[in-house]
């Protein structure tokens, strides 16, 4: 996919420069994750030893056990992150695919305007919505609940989701839809049985992105939730770090690793879907 597989005959010096750059960049990209992973398996003593060891002399799972079993808050944070993220993803993709389809295929008055709005909203920092949302939620008493997070997350991710899905629906050749109509399919049936399966990669891509956006988000969590029982991993890890004596990374490291492992796995597993989507259709 990179350049269509064309092998260029490059000078040796060019190749050397190129590979050097790439290796440096790759090391840059892996180093923090690698180092945090290594730290998470070290004993407390070895973590703080100077000179630091790159490969642990003694591998221990204690830190992980401590974080999973003995910590009161970490499992709660994890659970909350999972609930909020998955709910948001499911609902957003659901709503966005409906809207994306109708905006792509069913011309109705106002659809252009709606599209314009959506594009306008995209670049704005979401801090603009933060204060009114806080006031609104405070007034109807839903602050510090799952809804306080899920509802805004859906709204924040919808614009992008709608645009991506609309772009993908638009790429489906008109004649497929026409053929279905001739066969007597109603609009909804066309959507459900024909169109939707054809944009599966886009659905997966959108779901992945939304999940990642929500999983790592901090600002809304900090603002719209108040008690530790409702908070998610991002804020939770900061708290864990500060509460532990002097930033004790012994317990924090496995917490961080556990927080990012789902992300990394999803990312690598679903590569095929989003790489194609990102570099081909989606930015017209």
């Amino acid at each position: 996919m990179i350049n269509g597989g064309v092998i260029l005959k490059l000078k040796l010096s060019e190749k050397a420069i190129g590979y050097t750059i790439l290796v440096v960049v790759v090391i840059y990209c892996i180093a923090p994750i690698f180092w945090m992973a290594v730290t998470s398996f070290k004993t407390e003593e070895e973590i703080y030893r100077t000179p630091p060891t790159v490969i642990p002399e003694e591998v221990t799972f204690d830190n992980y056990i401590s974080v999973i079993q003995r910590s009161e808050q970490f499992p709660t944070y994890f659970k909350n992150s999972v609930i909020v993220s998955i709910t948001t993803v499911v609902l957003t993709v659901f709503l966005a695919s409906f809207a994306g389809y109708s905006l792509a295929r069913i011309p109705f008055p106002g659809s252009g305007l709606i599209l314009g709005f959506i594009i306008l909203i995209l670049g704005l920092p979401y801090g603009l919505y933060l204060i009114p949302l806080y006031i609104m939620f405070f007034n109807i008493n839903i602050l510090d609940t799952y809804m306080a997070l899920i509802l805004p997350y859906i709204a924040l991710n919808l614009p992008w989701g709608v645009l991506i899905l609309r772009a993908n629906f638009k790429q489906i050749p008109q004649h497929i839809e026409d053929a279905a109509r001739v066969d007597g399919c109603g609009q909804f049936r066309i959507y459900y049985s024909i169109m939707l399966p054809m944009v599966k990669p886009a659905l997966v891509t959108a779901a992945l992105w939304i999940f990642l956006n929500v999983w790592g988000e901090l600002l809304l969590v900090m603002t719209l939730t108040e008690t530790a029982s409702m908070r998610t991993l991002s804020w939770g890890l900061l708290t864990l770090r500060d509460e532990a004596q002097a930033f004790a990374y012994g317990t924090l490291a496995p917490a961080i690793i556990i927080s990012i492992v789902p992300v990394i796995i999803l990312f690598l597993a679903l590569q095929n879907y989003y790489v194609k989507g990102m570099t081909e259709g989606s930015f017209r």
Partner: protein, 287 residues
């Protein structure tokens, strides 16, 4: 005819729910924000609200804390945007020219940081950049003296650049790869045959021909710069040394509860984004 009207109704009803969400939770708050920014709304005394016109906006311009937050964000942007754009273009070109299984694997690795939330990114980098951390240890091996990566406001801005470049590099690389793919490969082939050097390829082929992609990358990177929050917050949790626009807005609104002022800050941030996007698109159109 009836079928058509029915179709249009279905269209509206399919868009409806999404639209409703966005109207209630985005458009309405946006307008409400604007209104609040023209008042002296203090959350703890909500009934004591007065209309003050553009006062908040004017006061902010003279507010030292706002200025320093703005300058920190500006400093960040001035370093981050060129660095990440240049680095990702060069990396993308290297990947493009050396296309093979190995570089595909590299590309996949580079993209992983993109998925990791900025808070986690910050925590990982803080661990590496701390006084006694591995980065300083590595520097000491090279006989370079320790750097207080998190010790001064400039250092924090620099460290934040390092973290943010780390996260978004792969993302921009993919953009540039898409742009490079649009260049007919024959141009590169002839260049190679003619003995053009790598640097010349970069300067005379890649840069001019990926203008559109560069616009996207620049605008995105500017938005990222304005949105810097989690990185800085993870370092000092609003404790002082460095504020950027977002953290200052948060503190104003949710620690001091001066929400009139806070919304004005948010609007300033939105204006900056709109302005830069507009300027970037214009400049690249005319080049």
């Amino acid at each position: 005819m009836k079928g058509k009207i029915r179709d249009k109704l279905i269209g509206v009803s399919m868009t409806g729910p999404a639209l409703l969400f966005m109207i209630i939770l985005l458009i309405y708050p946006l307008l409400y924000s604007f209104y609040l920014s023209l008042t002296n709304y203090y959350f703890l005394e909500p009934n004591n609200i007065n209309f003050v016109g553009l006062n908040n906006y004017i006061e902010l311009l003279g507010d030292n804390s706002f200025r320093s937050a703005f300058l920190n964000s500006l400093l960040f942007g001035l370093i981050y945007v060129p660095v990440v754009t240049a680095l990702s273009l060069v990396t993308a070109l290297a990947l493009h020219q050396l296309d093979n299984k190995l570089t595909k694997f590299f590309r996949a690795i580079m993209f992983v940081p993109v998925g990791i939330g900025l808070t986690f990114v910050a925590l990982m980098w803080i661990w590496m950049l701390k006084s006694g951390g591995i980065v300083n240890y590595g520097l000491s091996l090279l006989n370079i003296s320790k750097v207080q990566w998190l010790g001064s406001s400039q250092a924090i801005v620099l460290s934040t650049v390092i973290m943010t470049v780390w996260k978004f590099l792969g993302f921009n690389v993919l953009f540039f790869l898409a742009g490079l793919n649009n260049i007919p490969i024959s141009i590169f082939e002839s260049a190679t045959i003619d003995g053009v050097t790598a640097f010349q390829k970069l300067r005379y082929i890649a840069i001019p021909l990926v203008k559109d992609t560069m616009a996207i990358v620049l605008i995105n990177s500017t938005i990222v710069s304005v949105k810097v929050y989690a990185q800085v917050w993870s370092i000092n949790r609003g404790g002082g040394l460095v504020d950027v626009l977002y953290t200052y807005m948060y503190k104003t609104s949710f620690r001091y509860f001066e929400m009139g002022k806070g919304t004005a800050i948010a609007y300033y941030m939105g204006l900056i984004v709109l302005l830069i996007s507009f300027l970037t698109i214009n400049k690249l159109k005319s080049d």
